[in-house]
C-alpha cells in the first residue's frame, strides 16, 4: 500500500467518526474562569527533550559536544531578545543572552535622532533604557500629559520575555519616583511573523506597535490599519478608551497604570470639551 493510499484511508476512516457534540456542548452551562488554570494556560510551545540513544559512539558524542559548543558560542554573541519602546519615537534594542545591548536602532525619524546620542556599548538593557528616558525627558517627548509608553519584548522564551519586561517596567517606574510624571507602561510579549514584519516595515513602525495595532483590530474589526499606523501610542490609547475596548485583554498593565490611564484619558476629554466650549464662546 502506498503512502497516498494510507493517507486517503485514514482520512476516510476519521471522516466517518460520529462526533455530533455541538448541541450537547452548547446546552451546558459555562462558568467563566477568573484566570487560566494548568489546562488552559497559554504556554510557549516547547520542543520536546531529545532522547539520545545510549549506543552513540564516542566520536559522535565528541561531535555533538563540538556542535553544542559552537551553538552556545553563536548564541552568546547572537541576538536573544529584541525590546521595542514606542512613545512616538520608536526604538528597537537588541540584546544578547546576558541582556547586554548589542544594537540600538531608531525606527522612525524621532527615534533615529534619539538613539544617535545614546552610548550603549558594554551596557545592559536596563541602563540603556534609563538613558533613553533621560533623553526623552530632555527633549520634552515625555511630560505630564504624554507619559504613555508601549514596551514590547520579542523572545522565543516566554519566561525570559516576561522576566525582562517585569525588570524594565520596574526600572521605568523607579526612575520616575518622586517625579511629576507618572509613567503608564503598557507591556506585551510578542511573536514575529513574516506578515507582521512586512507590515511594520511598510509603515515604518516597530513590530511591537504593529502587534498592538493588530490586536486592537481583533478587538474592534471596524478599525482599519491605515487609520491606526500614523497615530501615536497616546492617540491609540485614547481611541481605544473612547471606543470602550478592554486593553487588559491584549496588554499587561499594572492596576495603578490603568487607573492613571483612565484618569489621564478623561482629563484629555475634558480639555477637548473646554476647547469646544471656547470655540462656541468665540462664535
Amino acid at each position: 500500500m502506498k503512502n497516498k493510499e494510507i493517507n486517503k484511508r485514514l482520512a476516510n476512516a476519521l471522516g466517518e467518526a460520529p462526533i455530533d457534540l455541538l448541541e450537547e456542548i452548547k446546552s451546558q452551562p459555562v462558568r467563566k474562569m477568573e484566570e487560566h488554570d494548568y489546562i488552559t494556560r497559554q504556554e510557549p510551545i516547547k520542543p520536546r527533550n531529545i532522547y539520545w540513544k545510549p549506543f552513540f559512539s564516542a566520536a559522535a558524542a565528541l561531535g555533538i559536544f563540538m556542535l553544542a559548543f559552537l551553538g552556545w558560542f553563536n548564541q552568546f554573541r547572537a541576538v536573544d531578545s529584541v525590546v521595542y519602546l514606542d512613545i512616538n519615537p520608536s526604538i528597537e534594542i537588541s540584546t544578547n543572552k546576558r541582556d547586554d545591548v548589542i544594537q540600538i536602532k531608531g525606527l522612525n525619524k524621532d527615534g533615529q535622532e534619539l538613539v544617535d546620542s545614546i552610548q550603549y556599548k558594554g551596557k545592559d538593557v536596563n541602563s540603556v533604557t534609563l538613558e533613553l528616558l533621560d533623553a526623552l525627558l530632555e527633549k520634552g517627548t515625555i511630560d505630564e500629559r504624554h507619559h504613555t509608553m508601549l514596551l514590547s519584548v520579542l523572545n522565543e522564551n516566554q519566561e525570559k520575555s516576561r522576566k525582562q519586561m517585569a525588570q524594565l517596567n520596574e526600572g521605568i517606574h523607579n526612575y520616575f519616583k518622586g517625579h511629576q510624571v507618572k509613567p503608564i507602561v503598557l507591556r506585551q510579549s510578542i511573536a514575529s511573523t513574516s506578515s507582521l514584519e512586512e507590515f511594520a516595515e511598510e509603515y515604518n513602525i516597530s513590530l511591537g506597535k504593529m502587534t498592538f495595532i493588530k490586536n486592537l483590530m481583533i478587538l474592534n474589526p471596524e478599525f482599519k490599519v491605515e487609520e491606526l499606523v500614523d497615530l501615536s501610542i497616546h492617540e491609540l490609547i485614547a481611541l481605544s478608551q473612547k471606543t470602550g475596548l478592554d486593553l487588559k485583554r491584549i496588554l499587561d498593565i499594572d492596576d495603578d497604570d490603568l487607573r492613571e490611564l483612565k484618569e489621564s484619558y478623561w482629563d484629555d476629554e475634558e480639555d477637548d470639551d473646554d476647547d469646544d466650549d471656547d470655540d462656541e464662546d468665540d462664535d
Binding site: 500500500m1 502506498k2 503512502n3 494510507i6 493517507n7 486517503k8 484511508r9 485514514l10 482520512a11 476516510n12 476512516a13 476519521l14 471522516g15 466517518e16 467518526a17 460520529p18 462526533i19 457534540l21 455541538l22 450537547e24 456542548i25 452548547k26 451546558q28 459555562v30 462558568r31 467563566k32 474562569m33 484566570e35 487560566h36 494548568y38 489546562i39 488552559t40 494556560r41 497559554q42 504556554e43 510551545i45 516547547k46 520542543p47 520536546r48 511573536a191 511573523t193 506578515s195 507582521l196 507590515f199 493588530k214 490586536n215 483590530m217 481583533i218 478587538l219 474589526p221 482599519k224 490599519v225 491605515e226 485583554r249 491584549i250
Partner: protein, 199 residues
C-alpha cells in the same frame, strides 16, 4: 487593504483530491466566544471538530474517550476564551487544552500501560468505519505508531495540514515532524504488508 486576517489565521490548504475544507481560525473568534457569541463558537466548532478529534484520538486511541475529551476541550474553550491572548497560534492553544485534558484523563484512569497493549483489532469501537480496509488502516495506525508519529500522520491525513503547520502547532521542530511522518508511514506500510490482508 484587507483586514489582515492572514496574520492571525491558520490556513489549511485544500488537498489535491478536494477532500479537505479550507479552514481558517481567526483569533477574533475567541474574543467573540468570550463574549458569549454562540455563532462564533459554532463557527470554531465546525472548523476544528475533525482536526481536534484526530489529535485527541492520536493520544488516547479510543473513540469514546476521544469524544469525552473533545467535549471537555470545547467547554474549556468557552470557559477561558475571554482570557485568551492573541499570539498567532490559535490551534496550538486548542491542542494544549486537548492534550492536558487527555493526559489528565489517562493519569486519572491509570490506563497508560494498559492502552499500549490494547488489542485494537478485537475492538468494535471503530465499527462506524464502513470500509473494512479503511478500518484496518486506522487500527494499524493506532496500534503500531508512536504517539508523535500518529499525531503527525492523522493530522496530515484528516485536515491536510502541512508539516510546517503541524510542527508549529504541536511544538516540535520541522525536521522532527518530517522524519517522524516518514518513519511512521514506513512502519505502517511494513505492518500492513506483513499482515497481508491489505494490498
Amino acid at each position: 487593504m484587507v483586514l489582515f486576517n492572514f496574520v492571525f489565521a491558520l490556513a489549511m490548504a485544500e488537498n489535491k483530491t478536494g477532500r479537505y475544507r479550507k479552514v481558517e481560525i481567526d483569533e477574533s473568534l475567541f474574543v467573540s466566544i468570550g463574549e458569549d457569541d454562540i455563532e462564533a463558537f459554532e463557527t470554531l466548532y465546525h472548523l476544528t471538530e475533525r482536526t481536534m478529534y484526530a489529535y485527541i484520538l492520536s493520544i488516547v486511541k479510543n473513540h469514546d474517550d476521544t469524544l469525552d475529551i473533545l467535549q471537555d476541550t470545547y467547554l474549556k474553550i468557552r470557559s477561558a476564551a475571554h482570557l485568551y491572548k492573541p499570539m498567532g497560534k490559535p490551534l496550538a492553544w486548542m491542542f494544549t487544552i486537548a492534550r492536558n485534558l487527555s493526559l489528565s484523563k489517562l493519569r486519572l484512569e491509570n490506563r497508560m500501560a494498559d492502552m499500549e497493549n490494547l488489542d485494537m483489532e478485537n475492538s468494535l469501537q471503530f465499527s462506524y468505519v464502513t470500509d473494512p480496509e479503511d478500518r484496518i488502516v486506522l487500527m494499524a495506525a493506532l496500534k503500531v505508531l508512536a504517539e508523535d508519529e500518529r499525531k503527525i500522520i492523522l493530522l496530515h491525513a484528516v485536515s491536510g495540514m502541512k508539516h510546517r503547520e503541524i510542527a508549529e502547532n504541536v511544538g516540535i521542530p520541522l525536521s522532527t515532524a518530517l522524519s517522524k511522518y516518514h518513519r511512521g508511514l514506513k512502519k505502517l506500510r511494513k505492518y500492513l504488508q506483513d499482515k497481508g490482508g491489505v494490498r
